[in-house]
Symmetry: C2
Subunit: 199 residues, 2 copies
Amino acid sequence: MERLCDYLRVLTMLDRKGQQTASSEEIGSWAGVKASQVRKDLSYFGEFGRRGLGYDVEQLRAHIRDILGVQRQRPTIVVGVGNLGSALACYPGFESHGFQIVALFDNDPRRIGYKVSGMKIHSMLDLVPVVREHRAEIALLTVPEQAAQEVAEKVVAAGIRAIVNFAPVLLSLPPEVNLRNVDLARELETLCFYLPPKE
Amino acid sequence: MERLCDYLRVLTMLDRKGQQTASSEEIGSWAGVKASQVRKDLSYFGEFGRRGLGYDVEQLRAHIRDILGVQRQRPTIVVGVGNLGSALACYPGFESHGFQIVALFDNDPRRIGYKVSGMKIHSMLDLVPVVREHRAEIALLTVPEQAAQEVAEKVVAAGIRAIVNFAPVLLSLPPEVNLRNVDLARELETLCFYLPPKE
Ligand SMILES: NC(=O)c1ccc[n+]([C@@H]2O[C@H](COP(=O)([O-])OP(=O)(O)OC[C@H]3O[C@@H](n4cnc5c(N)ncnc54)[C@H](O)[C@@H]3O)[C@@H](O)[C@H]2O)c1
Ligand SMILES: NC(=O)c1ccc[n+]([C@@H]2O[C@H](COP(=O)([O-])OP(=O)(O)OC[C@H]3O[C@@H](n4cnc5c(N)ncnc54)[C@H](O)[C@@H]3O)[C@@H](O)[C@H]2O)c1
């Protein structure tokens, strides 16, 4: 359910801000949905707000994560184990958010066979068998921009249907592939938190 | 204006999705604000939607970035030039989003003096003079979690008032410091884009 994902996004944001309860009006307004629709959706899953209080943000978020299966570990691979790829491979945060990093790949002979975060870096030639062995579902793409399209196609050919692309290029992939682009600089810009603009 | 930042966040998201026009109702619903308030705020800055069409997403976003001064380059430092810090220091995306990376710092003698992205890595002992020389405003904190609190305090003592913290720890800093925490894993989780939950 697309809306459940939107609610999760909203609840995660409220939770990050330290907010403890949220009304269906507030959730709806952030998610672009009528409050009555929010209540309808949530009651379908056994979640009822408390009159005057609304929903418990932490509890509701945990429940939605549960429903969406976000809690379960999704085998994830990292392709391109340079600076960014290594940082992602070593970051414990991924495990606790459902991304279990199971294999690493690179095409640089100086990196292949080298261990990062307890895992040996595989050659790109081993992509298909290793993806199959681990039933990998998600690929984090951290290769240089000139290699991104070609590597993405290899990853899809190996059976991966969800890609998070960190390279600053627009990838062209078949419609059945879930593609997300992450641009940290753009995300940071919208934080708008730093100093007031000079007049 | 807090609301302008929210509008920027919404417009950036719509732009990322490839949407070309947006109504005040839509912007308002995403930003948690009444449509009439959106129209009021935007007309104050000379932005008027077109009847039936709404606002041009790209244009409005550019205008708001302008108003907020997001376009101007903010001198930014990176503290902790390991995997993540190096990836950020080399990423061209930061410059185009207003974060001009001007200096790098580390406490590892094997890294100090080493060049990354054309810049020599400074020792932490040079933090105060170098921050002053560059009039640095923002610090990207990419040190290990056990060092984060202590390093954040040093950065604040050097005069920096806006910190983006990548280490998975809750920092305790004076209220005048703008602090943002980035957790890529958490952000990726709310993308909710990958495979449908197993039933
Ligand atoms: N989205 C963001 O916010 C963000 C931030 C920083 C960097 N980046 C991007 O992430 C990417 C990686 O950055 P980095 O600093 O880690 O670069 P890097 O050069 O350190 O790492 C790239 C790695 O990819 C490997 N590689 C190259 N071609 C390959 C191929 N055909 N098959 C498999 N592996 C291959 C290299 O051997 C290297 O290990 C770049 O595209 C960069 O622009 C994005
Ligand atoms: N938020 C996220 O999404 C995310 C993703 C990946 C990593 N991380 C976090 O980012 C941080 C860096 O990760 P990494 O993989 O680059 O680690 P790393 O070990 O490769 O780099 C850390 C760097 O900080 C330097 N350093 C250590 N103590 C210091 C001090 N007191 N003063 C100055 N410099 C110091 C080290 O010399 C090293 O160069 C970690 O805290 C990690 O958990 C966060």
